[in-house]
Symmetry: D3
Subunit: 115 residues, 6 copies
């Protein structure tokens, strides 16, 4: 597994445990709901993960982008498809999305290399 | 055609003409590029329009939402699918997306009634 | 009841019914969770509603602001306290919060007059 | 004076009076400071007003945009210069800035007609 | 003092000195005003710091979050209260607030350990 | 060249090559258009770069800020002028812009030292 992927996953798991240990019910239920949101329904998991990705990109949340990139990779999104998601994000959100696209591109290369 | 749809289309066309009459090349080229972004490619037009919609929702741009709702309707997105896009937008973007979801729901009802 | 309050409540109720009628489970559960978030806990309802208000102000969501203004009014927040919430929102979020503060001030006057 | 200009100025003045009547010192001092920010210094008033305009556009604050459009007009910004500010805002902020650009263009036409 | 706290404080102090050395009056006065905003008034300092925290969380400003976490800690906010602030921020601002909540949780653990 | 400048330039160039190698036409054309936006026209390059900077600051995009700081430096913007741009950004965008102003100030010191 690439270094960026490892670091992201480790920190995420470690801090999620800290947060959940405080037993705030709203936080716990929001996280469950977050998981349900991307379950297959009228739209496929693949489509929903691309929706989650483009939303994360225009809101410029690097960790959210990494999370959805990992899921898109698992769901078989191709590099060509991914860059079309990037294009929508950059056109809708403007050039301020470019630095996040750079980091997304770097993370995607690691995901592909880790296959 | 419903009143909201008519009003949106009329104002949009009228002001686009004003803007384009000023011959700013960057604006013109950005608008052309915006159109190209949603052309069929590795992703279908339908998927791209849903991506444009969710991005517009989390960025809370009512007019952008209306535009992409119109396109989603043309592309045959079902109400069930649409509400799954709404769900992603509300989970990623939080409850501040709810008022925009209300206006989106109202506009969608008009689109369905206009068929 | 003032005209702004009536219009806000009517539209909100009408569109919430449209949205809930579509039976999207994520939307329903998010709305329940939203309600729970402001229940009394380690913090009072009054404090939580002021937190919801300041968050809505810096995110510049007029309808969210109206909703929390109504709740703050119910919870006995005074005008002096309210304007200290406004001050935090304007300092943290900058002068782009001012137009929303104007509309918030107008709505608050109606809430006070409606007592 | 055009109808949009009149409405904007009237509402702004009326609500500013409500807000200032509450004597919140932070709000008062922030508003004074806001005025000072655009005074001539190492940069001209004209340049500062264009800076205020582009910032308001990418943050998508219609009332802030109207305010700075009025000031840009007073400072002799030409239509060609203005549309170059619009271009920067649309490229940096993306197509979500377009609906705000439409409203800005409409307001600018009124400002020109009011000369 | 924990490493994150030390690093945040050191960098903040060092760069504040650079900025203030340039004698820009607007910046100086804004910073003074920022301090005044959180002074005790109709609302307690503790409440105001929680308002500043939730505003910083939904606007996703990690350094602002750290600053207000430090102040909340000084003001005796409990972990249970803090997580209720986190809950409001995550519900209002959506799952894009989660990564910032992780970093906030990490910083809070350091603050508690530093007592 | 200072360490921050070197690191920013190297990463930017390396990832731009990755992104461009994927041949997504929308991305390529957006980047060309981005360059054209700041060409001399009715406004000077210097003014346009300050517009790009203030827009990047209120949108809180550190890498975009660095890019425009480099360009402002090339265009002969003085430190006094620069801090007036900072002032507009902090007033319009609020205290959440302060941490980005700190990083901007640090980068500017490197640019000056590199002359």
């Amino acid at each position: 597994m690439g270094a960026l992927i490892q670091e992201f996953n480790d920190y995420r798991q470690r801090m999620n445990e800290v947060i959940l240990s405080k037993n705030n019910l709203v936080m716990k239920r929001l996280w469950n709901l977050d998981t349900n949101t991307y379950d297959a329904g009228a739209l496929s998991v693949q489509t929903k993960e691309m929706l989650g990705l483009v939303a994360s990109m225009v809101l410029r949340c690097d960790d959210c982008i990494k999370y959805h990139l990992g899921k898109c990779h698992e769901q078989g999104v191709t590099t060509e498809q991914l860059y079309e998601v990037f294009a929508v994000a950059n056109i809708v959100g403007g050039t301020i999305v470019i630095p996040h696209t750079r980091r997304a591109a770097e993370y995607w290369e690691e995901l592909i290399a880790s296959r």
